[in-house]
Amino acid sequence: MNSESDIILKVSDLTKSVTLENHILDLLSDINLAVSAGETLAIVGASGSGKTTLLSLLAGLDLPSGGRIELKGQAIHTMDEEQRSAIRAKHVGFIFQQFLLVSSLTALENVMLPAELAQLPNAEQRAKALLEQVDLADRLNHFPSQMSGGEQQRVAIARAFITQPDILFADEPTGNLDSKTGLHITELLFDLNKQNGTTLILVTHDEKLADRCGRKVIVDGGRLVDDSAETLSKLRTVNE
């Protein structure tokens, strides 16, 4: 299915557990996954299934309890916070459900932020160009609180693409938006993704959004279930 050289993200025997008062709770177990460069992957699953935990591990925001994660061939599960930060700055982009724009910075400055952290040249020009692409050329100097949810998420998308990351993680990117705006955001996300040839991994409840991806994986009870149409329909029945 994936040739070894194309693989941008490789996960083997991944587990994550937390210690509660008297017992250990397994959040994820036996996760094995490989994602090719340029692929679009949807991680779907019921609430509490562990999909967001998985996303945070894949993006290097958290460390697993066991197993391996290799991002661009680098074993991020062995790295400390600082090393993972450096990896994120270089290869990773994010889009969050709550947009998470820096409230004290303008739209333009929010978009410039990752480019500056990655020390890319011409951060401002890049940011302006991207904001134009997401139809916010006239809102460059507006602060997040002066923008609607849809506008904020468009800023977040522009911010995610400014460093031309190898891999983009999106956590419920349309979760906080009405369906019309959500649709618009989806279009924008996939258009930009295509233009940049970025690998996209998104976590969502939204089936329509998941359907736009090339591949879907289902997380159920902390385990990865195969992504066949049959299983999906089974899950759908359970969810309903």
Partner: protein, 833 residues
């Protein structure tokens, strides 16, 4: 791209946040702390220096050594060795002659350098007044009164002892002129070199030898340490502080008050910084998490925030210094005339103290929240943000910093420890009480209306934050009440000291024959007065058959300075049937008029120094006559009252047969002054001391100091308000979420407004009540320990505290939440989701 992105980002953040008002509370809190410290310490530094120079002029030196024997050479040699300036002065009462007339004069023979402090102003024959040092040998300066009595003018000769000396000028101001009503006559100054010619120094002459010293404070202190152990019972070493001037006492309490109030202001400003920086930490959490998720390293974040906070502090400290400087200038200009601030003292010390205050406030109170902030995990972008966990250990740097600040400002470790320890203890008690109140509120609330129920439910849910909030509200209100109460007590006490009809003229040397006409004149013109006090001069010779000299030697372990006063010199004795005003019997009983037994009432200070108790017998000598009386009461005398006061008051039976002169004090209204003076002109032997100018000076100083107190009160109120606003703001995000939820669930705007209002009003009410109680305890200690006033209770302020607390916290809370309460549901949801 260069690797100093953090600088750019930090500046950008700071610029936006400052413009958007997100840092206003922290900014104001630091500004306030710095401005308060700078203006007040600068101000009091300057005023202190002015007062000191003005008051040291009352003794014409920094320190004075007085002895009944000539000053030893070794003392002067030591002072020279330490680089001190010194001047000699010899004092005595003696008759002087001119035109076949004679008059008792207070003679001062002074060395060339006299006076070392203050101004000696002399009017010359042309009428010009000039500042002078000692007169040339052969010349003297005298008070106008002496010229009038003797009927001579400037240029004529006057015989002092055996020496005819030329009157070269009239004394207009003598820095160490005696304010005492018992001075023996008009002043006369001659050069000490003329003393041998006068032949006034004879065996048995009553002479006072003085050596005046002035110089750098270090040298003075070293000299003081050297000389103090050598001072014997016939000598005295003193500075201006030991003077009993009402002015110095008032200024002393004012200074104490200003220091205390400023310390409380600093505490409040520091609390505001602490609260605001916690909120700052919380508000920046998402920002840091996003930065980290985007790949910013810990180092990057630390540098970014170090610069951000550092610049914010620097800007705030700078603004604080500027505002403090302006306030200080305004204050000094207002008082310029009063204190004749001709030379400005260096502002270096207040400046350094103010800068340290700003830096300590911004570092120590923010270090814990900032540390938590920069170490936040990037995972928070997914998992959400938690409120800062609060460990009591985190308060350690803040407490240490607060102590340092208080100490730095007050230079009084005891006061700082008491204020801090007391504050911590009160906070803990209040925290426990607060939690109890909040819990109790829940059960009350559940039985009440919907808005109240919601309000109490909110209070209960945020029990921990609310009890912390309650404590800071309480402390803020308490400190405000404290400042208000002490201020009114203090100013009230000063004003009581100087009522409108305070005596402004003293008459002395009224002879027995003049008594009736003086009384008659005062009655005719309706001039109020103290009544006439007869004065007989006599010596205390024995206490319970022990002669006083042996008594003194038994007291060697006591402070030598306390041994001398009241013995070894003649006392002014009086008799009287009624207890004078401003005197209070503290033990024994005032004699009744019918009793024949010889009795005396002794002033409590003297009684304590000489170990005199009710029932003791005292031996006195008047002229050549000796007699013994029983002590039947001990009196407390208000020495600051402007009226004749006495150590010993006898019943009339004892003294009435001795020849006496009389003294009295009067309040002469301006329109009666002329008639008063005309009347006195008929009796040249009666001396009049005009203290009008002194009272005027005292009044205006009190007015100015009261103004300074109003100023600090305003500062403390602003600091208190800042704490309240910072506290309300700290809970804003959470409130926003709650209101959004309640709105979504269909809660009416009026219900939400009422519940928010009630929540704050309840908090304010409870805080006000607790503040009233805490204030009462604090006032008790401050009044009795710091100001040495009698304690008073202020139940009315408990009510004021509650009403003010409820109103203030309610209004501040509503103002802070108003925008939130009027937002549409959609906006609210959008903001909080």
């Amino acid at each position: 791209m260069s690797n100093n992105v953090w600088i750019k980002q930090s500046l950008r953040l700071l610029g936006h946040e400052l413009r958007r008002g997100e840092l206003t509370i922290i900014f104001l809190a630091i500004v306030l702390a710095v401005a308060t410290v700078f203006s007040l310490s600068g101000f009091s530094h300057q005023i202190q220096a002015a007062i000191l120079s003005k008051s040291t002029s009352f003794i014409a030196a920094d320190r004075v050594f007085r002895s009944s024997q000539p000053i030893e050479e070794s003392i002067l040699a030591k002072s020279d060795e330490l680089g001190l300036e010194s001047a000699l002065k010899l004092e005595m009462g003696s008759m002087v002659f001119a035109n076949d007339k004679l008059q008792l004069a207070e003679i001062s023979a002074v060395g060339d350098k006299y006076p070392l402090r203050g101004e000696l102003l002399i009017q010359n024959v042309q009428g010009g007044v000039k500042e002078q040092k000692a007169p040339k040998p052969g010349q003297i300066w005298v008070e106008q009164k002496l010229l009038d009595i003797l009927g001579i003018t400037i240029g004529e000769n006057l015989e002092v002892g055996m020496a005819p000396l030329e009157v070269a000028g009239v004394i207009k101001q003598m820095p160490d002129a005696s304010f005492s009503v018992f001075t023996s006559g008009p002043a006369l100054i001659l050069n000490v070199k003329d003393m041998p010619k006068t032949e006034l120094i004879q065996p048995g002459s009553r002479l006072g030898y003085k050596a005046l010293f002035a110089g750098e404070s270090d040298a003075i202190e070293e000299f003081e340490e050297w000389i103090k152990p050598q001072v014997n019972e016939t000598q005295r070493w003193y500075d201006i502080q030991s003077s009993r001037s009402a002015l110095s006492a008032s200024l002393d309490s004012a200074e104490q008050y200003l220091t205390l109030a400023s310390m409380l202001g600093i505490v409040l400003a520091a609390v505001a910084v602490a609260v605001a920086s916690r909120r700052y930490g919380q508000r920046h959490q998402p920002m840091v998490a996003v930065f980290k998720a985007m790949g910013a390293s810990q180092r990057h974040i630390t540098k970014l925030y170090f610069l951000h906070w550092g610049l914010l502090s620097a800007i705030s400290v700078g603004a604080g210094l500027l505002i403090g400087y302006v306030l200080q200038e305004i204050g000094l200009n207002t008082m310029q005339e009063q204190f004749e601030l001709t030379t400005r003292v260096s502002m270096m010390e207040p400046l350094v103290i103010a800068i340290i205050t700003g830096v300590l406030c911004s570092v120590a109170f923010a270090i814990a929240p900032l540390k938590q902030l920069v170490t936040i995990k990037p995972l928070a972008v997914i998992r959400g943000f938690e409120h800062n966990t609060f460990h009591y250990l985190q308060m350690l740097p803040a407490i240490l910093a607060l102590y340092t600040l208080l100490h730095l400002f007050s230079r009084d470790w005891l006061k700082s420890v008491v204020l801090l320890g007391g504050g911590a203890l009160v906070s803990i008690i209040l925290l426990v009480l607060g939690q109890a109140f909040v819990s109790a509120g829940r059960s009350v609330g559940s039985k009440s209306g919907r808005a109240l129920h919601l309000a109490f439910a909110n209070l209960k849910r945020r029990a921990k934050e609310n009890s912390v909030q309650l404590v800071s509200f309480t402390i803020a209100i308490k400190l405000l009440l404290l400042i208000v109460v002490i201020r009114s007590d203090l100013i009230g006490q000063w004003q009581a000291q100087l009522p409108d009809n305070t005596a402004n003229r003293f008459l002395i040397n009224i002879s027995e024959q003049q008594v009736d006409s003086v009384n008659q004149f005062m009655e005719e013109l309706a001039i109020p007065g103290s009544g006439l006090y007869p004065v007989v001069r006599g010596r205390l010779t024995a206490i319970n058959q022990d002669s006083v000299t042996s008594d003194v030697s038994k007291e060697e372990d006591k402070d030598p300075e306390q041994q001398r006063r009241g013995v070894g010199r003649e006392l002014n004795l009086t008799w009287r049937t009624n207890l004078p005003d401003n005197n209070e019997i503290i033990s024994g009983q005032w004699y009744s008029a019918e009793e024949d037994k010889a009795q005396v009432s002794v002033e409590s200070g003297v009684a304590e120094r000489l170990d005199i108790n009710v029932g003791d017998s005292l031996g006195f000598q008047i002229g050549s006559e000796n007699f013994v009386v029983e002590v039947t009461s001990i009196r407390k005398v208000d020495w600051q009252s402007l009226q004749p006061n006495f150590f010993m008051i006898f019943n009339p039976q004892v003294l009435s047969d001795f020849p006496a002169t009389y003294i009295s004090s009067h309040f002469v209204e301006p329109e009666k002054v002329q008639s008063f003076n005309r009347f006195l002109a008929q009796y040249p032997t009666i001396s009049m001391i005009d203290v009008e100018a002194m009272i005027g000076q005292l009044r205006s100083v009190i007015d100015q100091v009261s103004l300074a107190i109003e100023f600090i009160l305003v500062m403390v109120v602003i600091a208190g308000s800042l704490v309240l606003i910072a506290q309300v703001q700290a809970s804003m995000e959470e409130r926003e979420r709650e209101i959004a939820i309640l709105r979504t669930l269909g809660a009416k705007g009026s219900l939400l407004k009422n519940s928010v209002l009630l929540e704050f009003v309840c908090l304010g009410l409870v805080a006000g009540l607790m503040a009233g109680m805490a204030m009462e305890i604090a006032v008790y200690f401050i009044q009795t320990q710091v100001f040495k006033m009698s304690a008073s209770f202020h139940l009315e302020y408990w009510g004021i505290g509650m009403v003010a607390g409820a109103t203030f916290v309610g209004v501040m809370g509503m103002i802070s939440c108003w925008r939130l309460l009027n937002m549409s549901s959609v906006t609210l949801i959008r903001r909080t989701m």
